[in-house]
Amino acid sequence: MPGHLAILDVGHGNAAILRTDDWTAVIDAGPGSSLVQYLIEQGITRIDEVLISHADEDHLGGLVGVLSSGQFSLGRVRLNSDAVKESKIWMDLTVALDDAQRNGAIDFQPSLTSSDTGRFDHGEVSIEIIAPTNFLAARGPGSTDRNGKKITTNSVSAVIRVAINGQRLVLFAGDIDEIGLDELVHVGTTDLGSPILVFPHHGGKAGGGDPAAFATRIAQMVRPTSVVFSIGRGVHGTPTPAVVEAIRQQGGQIRIACTQLSEHCSAISPKVAPTHLHTAFARGRERRQCCAGTMVVNFESPAALLPEAPVHLDFIKANTQSALCQRP
């Protein structure tokens, strides 16, 4: 494929790949073998940039697989420290990254903040690190924000916006929560505008607040034309119906696309193999769990989010009884 962006169907989790002729970047590395399988299928052996939004396993588990596979060389790896994250996979990953750094195999630094905007640009691709701010990253999970609220792992999630030839393309919102958004407002970053929004926290509850109010707030800051929910069928009940409804209430024609078919939309999987999916690897393809599957934007036609809306809609109409994105 020519220069492109792939929002990978990894099941419940996030992973995206940006690729030009001579450069590859990975933004988040969801769990399982999906990222490894995608990279192998695409013939990619070099990953120049790896940006991990935060320390949750559904955003980083696949990097353990990439590192330990021995099939890829990596350049820079950036993520933020997280003192409250006690998961063993977080230890597995940090041990593996430290080991690779000591061996000179990678350039690993535990830092990814808004000060890094521009440092990962390559050719026509610009990468803007919108969050976390230096302040929030320095305070860190377990501490408190400017308003005395407790900062969580999600609060310091990186929010990354990608532009192609100066045109904004996609906003990867990681798992940012209300505290993270409050901080952006505080520093005057209220314009998160982007045509595509990869919705935070897979459309589930981001923190303890009202998910519909949060969805409304972020939708108004981003003003997307497409919203992608990166979900695993039957896992965690995502996207939350109230979140999808809040997005639909924003007016205009916002396309809503889930990587896999939510059980809210259909209790049963499709009877026949899907024909609408992009050819790129998708975790749910073989078990007929995809809805939009892996979604791709070719840089030469950035307005088209593949699979395109009409064929995706035909699939939805043929295979769901009450799709969240189509309910009256």
């Binding site: 769990p31 399982g32 073998s33 999906s34 490894v36 399988q37 396993e57 588990g61 696949g62 353990v64 697989g65 590192l67 330990s68 596979s69 021995g70 099939q71 998961s87 063993k88 996979i89 597995d92 990953l93 041990v95 593996a96 690897f281 975790r283 393809r285 073989e286 078990r287």
Partner: protein
């Protein structure tokens, strides 16, 4: 009549089970596909002999895991199906998925493309399963069957009469502990299998469930 799957034509399917009533049930499912069922009434000869004998009279097989009952055979179905895989003969392995059976067959799992519950063995499942087998024999693996070198962390080792290693494969599922028979891990690696050890092996990271995982090509760090 015959069943055509990819470039193979299946005219006869062998049915291997110690229980005649089960064989008869399977036979009905096979015959619904308009394929001749070859009912292996037993007792079966040695493993080496049967590995070669069945493919001479059938094009594929449906085989139960527990074959030693009532001296029907002196080997288990898992080893038989794996040996058939090595010689390019497609076969489905039937098991009730009890945990002990899963432990016992895991060392052969990389060469057993499909496990089927006996109650699920209808004509549709036979075709679906044999298609997976035949494609895997042709080198076309499902993503759930492709193995990759990956980190394996040892959580606990028990020193019972049948020692087990409890391991986590972080790149597969960091939350699930997988029980392995220590005897399935190569002898040269076993001394390194200790609590909190981090080892490497090839694992099918796309596996959907615990039962489908296999491990091979172990490395000590």
């Amino acid at each position: 009549m015959a069943l055509k799957i990819d470039d193979r034509t299946l005219e006869r399917i062998a049915i291997v089970d110690d229980d005649k009533s089960v064989r008869d049930t399977y036979e009905t499912s096979v015959e619904e596909l308009e394929v001749e069922a070859v009912n292996e009434s037993g007792p079966l000869p040695s493993l080496d002999e049967f590995v070669n004998a069945a493919p001479a009279r059938a094009d594929a097989a449906v085989c139960d895991f527990k074959l030693r009952v009532k001296n029907y055979a002196n080997f288990d179905g898992a080893e038989l199906v794996a040996r058939w895989f090595d010689r390019g003969f497609p076969a489905l392995l039937c098991t009730k998925w009890d945990r002990a059976s899963i432990d016992e067959l895991r060392k052969y799992r990389s060469r057993i493309p499909v496990l089927v519950r006996p109650t699920d063995l209808d004509p549709e499942r036979i075709v679906e399963g044999l298609t997976i087998c035949i494609q895997e024999l042709a080198g076309k693996h499902l993503s759930s069957r492709k193995s990759y070198r990956t980190l394996v962390r040892v959580e606990e080792v028990t020193a019972d009469r049948s020692p087990y290693a409890y391991v986590v494969v972080p790149a597969w599922n960091p939350s699930e502990v997988v029980r392995l028979l220590m005897s399935d891990i190569p002898g040269s690696i076993q001394p390194r299998v200790k609590t909190d050890a981090r080892l490497y092996a090839e694992v099918n990271l796309g596996a959907e469930s615990y039962e489908d995982l296999f491990f091979r090509s172990w490395e000590g760090q």
